[in-house]
Amino acid sequence: MTASLSSVAEPPADQAAGAIVEVTGVDRLLLRQEVEEFLYREAEMLDSRRFEEWLDMLAEDLIYHMPIRRNVKYGTHEQAENTRQDKDISWFDEDKWTLRKRVEQIRTGVHWAEEPLSRVCHQVSNVLVGPVRDMADGSREVDVSCRFLVYQNRVEYETYFFVGKRNDVLRRTAGGKWELRRREIILDQNVLLAKNLTVFF
């Protein structure tokens, strides 16, 4: 059973091995700056409904996973708290193709769950930059964790707060472009307290 990704330190099982790179001092400050800007720009795209531009920020080989959380006995959280990517039913366990379908669906203008469109606000905080890996193809991968608060307001009174943690792998391609390679969304809920998940995390 694959351990759930709860710490930044452990690379996901599907990662091709890269060489860990020590990034310190000013270089680390600059790296943090780039990472944070990427995350804030992502949030900006989503909040201003620029969905196509958000899709452009996603790697073609993206894995996007939001596990279902269970209430489990002390000492069993590692194995049993979260549903497993690539094995179980989760809230999301999908790729860029599926996310693109979701954007297409909103753009039909007759996706009633998002018609009229929700008002959404993404807050990203507590950004921690973890291990950096140089990959064989000249790209660089960075493990990044953060916290999110996604606020959704719909129609007149419908309001949802989605709060939790994200464990991301960001990639800077050999050409210098940053993209999202992997996202694990740890929503801090058990029974989902929203009727729909039409927002992007």
């Binding site: 179980d88 039913i89 999301f92 039909t108 009633w112 029974v191 929203a194 998940l197 039409t198």
Partner: protein, 447 residues
């Protein structure tokens, strides 16, 4: 006119908005309806080993589904007999004993009260332990892996309750190649809250084919098993030439199934993955070999009275609309797959299920929006003076023609009419003869 007759007028096809909104009617449902019906609790594959448990729900109440040391499956009310605290605090796991955190009474896996601290000094002579085990529904059944329970000791057995809906439920529960049973549930039970009355989704899944255009957005973009091959729609159209049937049964169940034409060959429906396509082609041929003419019956959806519904094929799941207030439900969905299907098939189906169903499901999201706002719009004083229209295809059904049940061959609301017909009987406290529809003219062949 009796208490509930004013809410349901089947002759004129009218149902009052009140029954989807009023707190007092909801409370009556919790007293008169849910304690007497068969309710889906879980699947045997969730508790494979002795000591395994899965915390489930019946009505508003928490129940434990577990397997004891002798391999027997039990259902218990998750509440200590002493002062009520939950004896099972977790969603699932394995244990030897259920111990109450409050005063440490402990219960064995078959529900017996075992440990009572200080028994000799403070309880000996006062407490007969044998009388204070966990509360069990008097009737529990394992039907093809699905576990159902009923709180009414007078209730008919499950197969009598199911009646002729059995053949349709079987389409969801049997192996794709025609072997009986053989399903398992994927890990990860989706649970979420929808602000609507439970009866809206229950009737939707009896075959509300009329609402198909509401899903235009998902059909335009295409998310089915052949979507990466550019096929539009939310499922593959393998039943394009089939004869569709909307059937309701005397016990209140309703299904939408279809009969394929004779001699129909396998229609490619999993174009995105050749291995999966080959598997389903094989299943189709095996099923036809095993069942002959009976293999022509294919499922869409159904509701087992009152609030357990299923998707029979694309996608394939069984789910419960748990009452969570007069205008709120908590849905629990269990996704099904053949236990011995190859990993590639299970993976393929899992991804399809996740993008189709549930709060992240591109199809179902629009249903949730409709149920939510339909309920909200029905609360008003003026709104509630105007009943809902259930007149679609009134008088256009036939009994036991061409299959058992009250059958419509055209898009119809006869199934929801049957649901409210029976619902009314439960709410009026009728006996089991009536609740099984034995005296109901709606099901008389020469009526």
């Amino acid at each position: 006119m009796s208490g509930y007759e004013k809410y349901v007028d089947l002759k004129r096809g009218l149902v009052s908005r009140e029954i989807f909104f009023r707190e007092d009617i909801y409370r009556e449902e919790l007293e008169k309806l849910f304690p007497r019906v068969w309710q889906f609790v879980g699947h045997e594959s969730q508790v494979p080993n002795p000591g395994d448990y899965f915390t489930s729900r019946m009505g508003e109440e928490s129940v434990i589904l577990c397997r004891d040391k002798k391999n027997e499956i039990h259902v218990f009310l998750n509440s200590c007999r002493h002062r009520g605290m939950k004896v099972c605090l977790y969603d699932e796991g394995n244990t030897n004993l259920f111990t109450c955190p409050y005063h440490s009474w402990s219960y064995t896996l078959d529900g017996k009260l075992q440990g009572v601290p200080m028994y000799k000094t403070i309880y000996d002579g006062c407490l007969d332990k044998a009388q204070w085990g966990l509360i069990e529904p008097p009737k529990v059944v394992n039907y093809k892996g699905t576990i159902w329970a009923n709180w009414d000791p007078e209730a008919p057995d499950f197969l009598t309750y199911l009646g002729d809906a059995k053949e349709h439920l079987d389409l969801a529960l049997d192996c794709r190649d025609g072997r009986e049973g053989g399903s398992e549930v994927f890990g990860g039970i989706t649970k979420w809250i929808i602000p609507c009355n439970w009866k809206f989704p229950a009737e939707n899944f009896m075959g509300d084919t009329y609402h198909n255009p509401s899903h235009k957005s998902v059909d335009l973009i295409g998310i089915g098993p052949s979507a990466r091959s550019d096929v539009k729609g939310r499922r593959d159209n393998e039943l394009e030439k089939a004869k569709h049937l909307w059937i309701n049964f005397p016990q209140g169940h309703g299904v939408h199934s279809a009969i394929m034409p004779e001699g129909e060959e396998y229609v490619e429906s999993f174009k995105d993955n050749p291995e999966v396509e080959a598997y389903f082609r094989h299943c189709f041929e095996e099923r036809r070999r095993r069942l002959g003419d009976k293999s022509r019956l294919r499922p869409f959806v159904g509701t087992i009275f009152p609030n357990t519904s299923f998707h029979g094929n694309q996608p394939r799941s069984i789910f419960v609309w748990h009452p969570h207030g007069p205008t709120s439900i908590e849905v629990w969905r269990f996704f099904l797959v053949d236990k011995d299907a190859p990993k590639a098939v299970k993976d393929f189906l899992r991804h399809y299920y996740m993008r189709y169903s549930g709060p992240a499901g591109m199809t179902e999201q629009d249903d949730m929006e409709n149920w939510n706002y339909a309920t909200a719009a029905s609360r008003g004083t003026i709104a509630r003076r105007h009943p809902y229209n259930y007149q679609q295809s009134l008088g256009a059904s036939k009994v036991d023609d061409p299959v058992p049940g009250n059958v419509s061959l055209q898009v119809s609301e006869e199934n929801p009419r049957a649901l409210y017909n029976r619902w009314r009987d439960y709410m009026e406290g009728k006996g089991w003869d009536d609740l099984l529809g034995r005296n109901d003219p709606m099901y008389r062949k020469d009526a």
